[in-house]
Symmetry: C2
Subunit: 329 residues, 2 copies
Amino acid sequence: MISKRQELLLKLIVEDYIKNARPVGSKALCNVMKCSSATIRSEMNSLEEIGLLEKTHISSGRVPSEKGYRYYVDNIMEPKKLNGEDMLKLQTIVDNKSLIVNDIILKSMEIISELTHYTTIVLGKQSSENLVQKIEVVPIDENNIVAIVVTDKGHVEHKNIYIPGHVEVVEIKQTVDLINKLIIGTSINNVSEVLEYQVKPIIGKYVKQHEILYNAFYNAFSDFANESIKVNGTKNILMQPEFNNADKIREIISKFEDKDIVESIKEEDNGINIYIGSENNFDDDVTIIKTKYIVNGEEGTIALIGPKRMEYDRVVTLLNYIKENIDGK
Amino acid sequence: MISKRQELLLKLIVEDYIKNARPVGSKALCNVMKCSSATIRSEMNSLEEIGLLEKTHISSGRVPSEKGYRYYVDNIMEPKKLNGEDMLKLQTIVDNKSLIVNDIILKSMEIISELTHYTTIVLGKQSSENLVQKIEVVPIDENNIVAIVVTDKGHVEHKNIYIPGHVEVVEIKQTVDLINKLIIGTSINNVSEVLEYQVKPIIGKYVKQHEILYNAFYNAFSDFANESIKVNGTKNILMQPEFNNADKIREIISKFEDKDIVESIKEEDNGINIYIGSENNFDDDVTIIKTKYIVNGEEGTIALIGPKRMEYDRVVTLLNYIKENIDGK
DNA sequence: TTTAGCACTGCTCTTCTGTAAGTGCTGAAA
DNA sequence: TTTCAGCACTTACAGAAGAGCAGTGCTAAA
């Protein structure tokens, strides 16, 4: 348990360091703390012993440790009101009727990246609850048709289907009608099952060149993974003074370019969660704040990546704002 | 005009520097040049006077100048045969029947980025020659429908349309039928014109709630820019030793994140063109090799960005291979 | 025209030095 | 018991000085 004064000291150090990125010395805090630098030094010492503060070298000022940030986030930080400018920029996106929710999320996170100078990530994944609403087919030429699948939530997928050999347009139409009849209402990842166990057994009755057509459609519809990754403002986090060396920057860039690593940022929990340094699996030198969303048949994660020295209160408020505004839709 | 021996010297220096990224000294070339280092030094001096070589400081070895690379590329470099491994990896992509050409281009450039450790870019733009083949509409709920446009080349675009107030499904269907009748065969960037001058005047006759519907469709179809940008392997170029400082890396990353700058890489010429250092507008420290392609109603640029110290012959061969394989499709 | 030999130059790495910022400790005052 | 002025001490950082190295230009002889 730490004293009120120690808590104040920790708060001041964390906030000073977040702002200036330089170890905080005892003298700088005399005025606010209303005591001499020696007293502050001795308090700093206590906080260091508990593990909330660190030194960069034996005679340096203090820097919050991971545990220090954690304590700050859990016990000291106060919810911040959204500032006017942030609010304004986000509201124009959030209230835009002609954007689908999905685009609202993407755009908002773009804006947040600009506002905060951190990196933002949106991981989207079509939910397994999405149901097929309709399949449309448009012939392009002799051997190619475009198949389009629309789900009940308004997602659209399309695939080019290559059909070897000559097939009558009527045949294609019959196939599509048949598929449509059997497949509407199927969840998106059961499509290939329905094709195999319901369409395949009877397609021979209605369609002459059923083998070619069945195979073509089966291939086209067999994968609807449709995972999306959007990373905004990679450069932002690299501009931070803690990433002031070429190799560290390269390391981070490489991680952002690795799909698997970025995908692993996915959050399973519904709250707004903060992972400081080694608490996240991405990089020990960053903090990730993220939350899961489920919206309109799409389930995903919005995340924000910055230095551990992050404006925690502001970021949490911003993410909260987005979350509140999309969860209702 | 430079002598045969000078040309050989330049060739050796360029190729050595491309390989090792270190200024080339006179001693290192004695064996191949079959003369003493003093002779080589005097020849180097001549080449420096013409501006084909440079020193990094007064007593350093020589480095090719931009003009030196240019001379190498124009007069010395010989076409390289595709090596077995490169060939193999590309062929599996290029020959894959079930990929549409567009995906072949994207995939190939991804592979090339990995093979060469440079950065590749694909800029695509739907050609103005693309004609509307069909418009489909799928209702989602009371106030939302999905409109899908398919072009004669098999491109698919879709938009969510928000319809304020209550509108009968029949009305929507009539509108779509009307639009379909008038719009098929229109080039993609004339769609809004056709809507305004042909659909608008007569829609009132057939559709009751024509104002709401017309506006909704007009908004949805007014922009089909559909430009695509794909950047592969940003990290690759940053790993090169010439980009060994944080600020230079940040500069390059920022450029890659700026859509306008990346778009300006677009190439108008049909050949495979090489822009060394200040010859390109992207960054004086890189070389860009690029070419325009027109394929299947899409027109675009494939580009490769690396250090000026680039394996020119290999890259040209690789791009050539891609170009030859997509141009026929 | 070529080349051995030599003086010279600038880069790089290490060592050293002074300065600034900040600490811990001590003993006295409150 | 807490606070604090004063002091010795530590480290980072920047600049200067020196040694070693790689490579050059020039000269005079072959």
